[in-house]
């Protein structure tokens, strides 16, 4: 079975369309659709998802570009990337010296795509105003347009971070784990013996799986990259250009050769050497895709469906942990920032440099914490505790915090806890996340040394007398 894939891949390679292919590459799976007589050589297709990744990246860039007096214009531009528009330029990732990008327009990847139509439809309990995921994103976009650089110092929001991190959950994670890798991999939905849609050259299951993979955001050859390289590709570091440009055509293809969103955060966690999320998720995607290819255009048996479900479960649980790891990391940053701010206030030092960092880290923390709750499963008390510990906004210098939104969509601030107590909340957030999601990377672990020292000392029973 693997052999067949290899033969096809080799055949394709010999035709010169790709430089090399191997079993660890998410590409070149054959066309298996029965009765297909077109000239497509592979059934792999996930350009729609990659178009959404560049929409997301570009939107993030825009959200941080406000000048304070271009609100209407900026809002219109941001909404184009959020709700879809014609002939949009790719603002990010764009070519730069030493890191040339193949596509410069969204339409060159896929046409007619948007983010808003795919955003989480449930209520977001962690954000004020009783809004759905899509509504929260739109609300944040409107707010971002009015700011300078996406930064609201009065309420403590960094919209570029909030929009980006929450969109990663509300759109990409939600679509993948709550839709494609969930109901759509069941037997009767999008079966493998029929085309995905009228006239498609791929089967239902092939395309469902591809779409799930696309949302993850990994380059197709991610398994051949180490975590640090996969990470640096997203940063467009010229040092890793050759590794990024898998087919050696001198440009990085935004469909198959770029690292985005959660794949980037998986690599970020893994480069610490403690975890292996990127490879684990990638391998499960490839194994699942191979299983579908091996079915050769027939309906999947119950056994095969169970196996596919197993791969999907591996992907979902590890993906969730990637988000939890990111939230954990930023909770550690927010702890340090809040303590530094508290100290500066106590000593009468300037907070001008400290505040933006605190707000930025908080935006990342909040975005990931909100994202965790968009996977379609109820986190129960863990979700409630996360929302309470983090709050609707960061605790500000006067011990106030955003606690709601009024009828005009303006924030309401109320008396809250002190910065120091809020820093302690962040320790609780770290405890909560590491316990409930079995985290291993744990960057910025503020309690980690307590734990490792405790492990070195004998605990419990000790009956040695004197």
């Amino acid at each position: 079975m693997k052999l067949k894939h290899l033969i096809v891949a080799t055949a394709v390679a010999s035709l010169g369309s790709v430089s090399a292919a191997s079993g660890d590459h998410y590409a070149d799976f054959p066309v298996t659709l029965n009765g297909y007589d077109g000239d497509a050589t592979t059934s792999v297709a996930y350009t729609g998802q990659m178009a959404r990744h560049v929409l997301h990246n570009s939107l993030k860039k825009l959200a941080g570009s406000g000048t304070g007096d271009n609100a209407d214009e900026l809002l219109e531009q941001m909404l184009a990337y959020f709700e879809g528009g014609d002939s949009l330029d790719i603002i990010d990732p764009a070519s730069k010296s030493g890191f040339a990008i193949k596509q410069s327009e969204v339409d060159a990847i896929s046409t007619g795509k948007n983010l808003s139509g795919k955003a989480y439809g449930g209520y977001v309990t962690g954000w004020p105003g009783q809004m759905t995921g899509a509504e929260v994103l739109r609300f944040m976009i409107e707010k971002a347009a009015e700011t300078e650089g996406g930064y609201d110092p009065v309420n403590g929001y960094n919209y570029a971070q909030l929009i980006s991190k929450f969109a990663m959950g509300a759109v990409f994670y939600n679509q993948a784990v709550d839709n494609y890798l969930d109901e759509r991999i069941e037997g009767d939905v999008k079966p493998n013996d029929k085309p995905y849609g009228e006239g498609d050259h791929y089967t239902g299951k092939e395309h469902v799986w591809d779409e799930g993979f696309g949302y993850f955001g990994a380059p197709a050859h991610a398994l051949s990259l180490d975590a640090a390289t996969a990470y640096s590709i997203a940063k467009q570091d010229p040092d890793v250009f050759d590794e990024a440009d898998y087919n050696g055509d001198g440009v990085v293809d935004l469909v198959t050769e770029m690292t985005y969103a959660h794949a980037y955060y998986a690599a970020n966690a893994d480069k610490g050497g403690q975890s292996n999320y990127l490879n684990t998720i990638m391998q499960a995607f490839i194994d699942g895709r191979q299983l579908i290819a091996d079915a050769d255009g027939e309906k999947l048996s119950d056994d095969e469906l169970d196996q596919l479900q197993g791969y999907a479960d591996t992907i979902k649980s590890n993906w969730e942990r990637v988000i939890a790891e990111a939230a954990f990391k930023y909770a550690g940053s927010v702890y340090s920032d809040a303590m530094a701010l508290h100290e500066a206030v106590e000593e009468g030092d300037s907070v001008v440099d400290l505040m933006p960092t605190y707000v930025k880290h908080w935006g990342e923390l909040k975005g990931f914490a909100l994202s965790l709750q968009t996977g379609g499963k109820d986190l129960g008390s863990v979700g409630v505790q996360l929302d309470r510990l983090i709050g609707f906004g960061p605790v500000l210098l006067g011990s106030t915090q955003v606690t709601g939104i009024d009828g005009d969509g303006d924030y309401i601030q109320s008396e809250s806890i002190t910065l120091k107590e809020y820093a302690l909340n962040m320790l609780e957030v770290q405890k909560l996340l590491s316990q409930n999601f079995h985290l291993v990377a744990r960057s910025n672990d503020r309690l980690g040394n307590l734990e490792s020292l405790s492990e070195q000392l004998e605990s419990g029973a000790n009956v040695e007398n004197d």
Binding site: E343, L424, N449, L450, Q456, L457, S459, A461, V463, N465
Partner: protein, 333 residues
Amino acid sequence: MPGFNDVLSSLTTTFLDPSKRVFVGYLFLAAVIGALVWMAQGRSWRHYPRAVLSRRIWWSPSARADYQILVINQILFLFLAPWLLSHLTLATWLFEQLHRWIDTRPSVGLGWPDWSIPILFTLSLFLLDDFARFWIHRLMHRVPWLWAFHQVHHSARVLTPLTVLRTHPIEGVLFSLRSAVVNGVCIGGFVFFFDSRVDLVLVVGSNVFVFLFNLAGSNLRHTHCYLRYPAWLERWLISPAQHQVHHSAEPRHFDRNFGAVLAIWDRLYGSLLVSEPTAPKRFGVTRRRRPGEQKLVTLYGSPFLQAARVIRRWVSVRTTTIKQVNKEGRAHG
């Protein structure tokens, strides 16, 4: 639920883990030091093995009680372990509390060399632990209901290295509490002030100072090898002989030398006694043997009865006093 294998592995750990007092390596070293002491006392090395491996020591009723207590405690603490306070819980609590008690989290020792903080931490841990051992030990001798439990250790008539584990489970629970407090306070406190620079200086998995103590023949304190240190040194370190004095059945030796490693605590509290030229005649709580004193029922059960008696007496004294006071109050009123 712990099973047979857990008991077995916990027993092997006791002897094969270098962080334990009765680790085979330390026992061997103690035997070697013991041989040197034997010869220094002018006796032939030929007679040493027979003396050390004597059946009168290792198969005495007292030693057999040591073995039984050792096994029973191992099993008991496998079940108790999950309920004992962990030092991580305490360290975390203290770390968070310090944020509240101290205004800002100070960065201490920024200019100090990297090795200095692990050494400071390891030394502090050792000192605090040694003091806590002394202090709790002293308390166990002075508070009657605690003495009821600690006297199980003192009821040994023959001292073998395993006597170190001859401990009533109630005392064992107090010891784990003591470790939790000492370790928790040190870890929580140090991490608050020095953050990630804190580390422990370990030698084969145990605190370097504890390792040195064990290397120096710590096991000899529970043997009949009367190893004395020069008087000046016995004012700093508790010698095996000094601990044997602590086990003496002579009333004039009672309540002396509570210390584990350092003698300075005994000096501070006025309980230090340097060793005399001759070894104590008898070990135990009383001079005369009491019938059944080495039976398990007595060793495990009688402390509870004794403690209950002490508490009952205390309660009755109090109620009498209160009645007295009330009566007097009425008379005056």
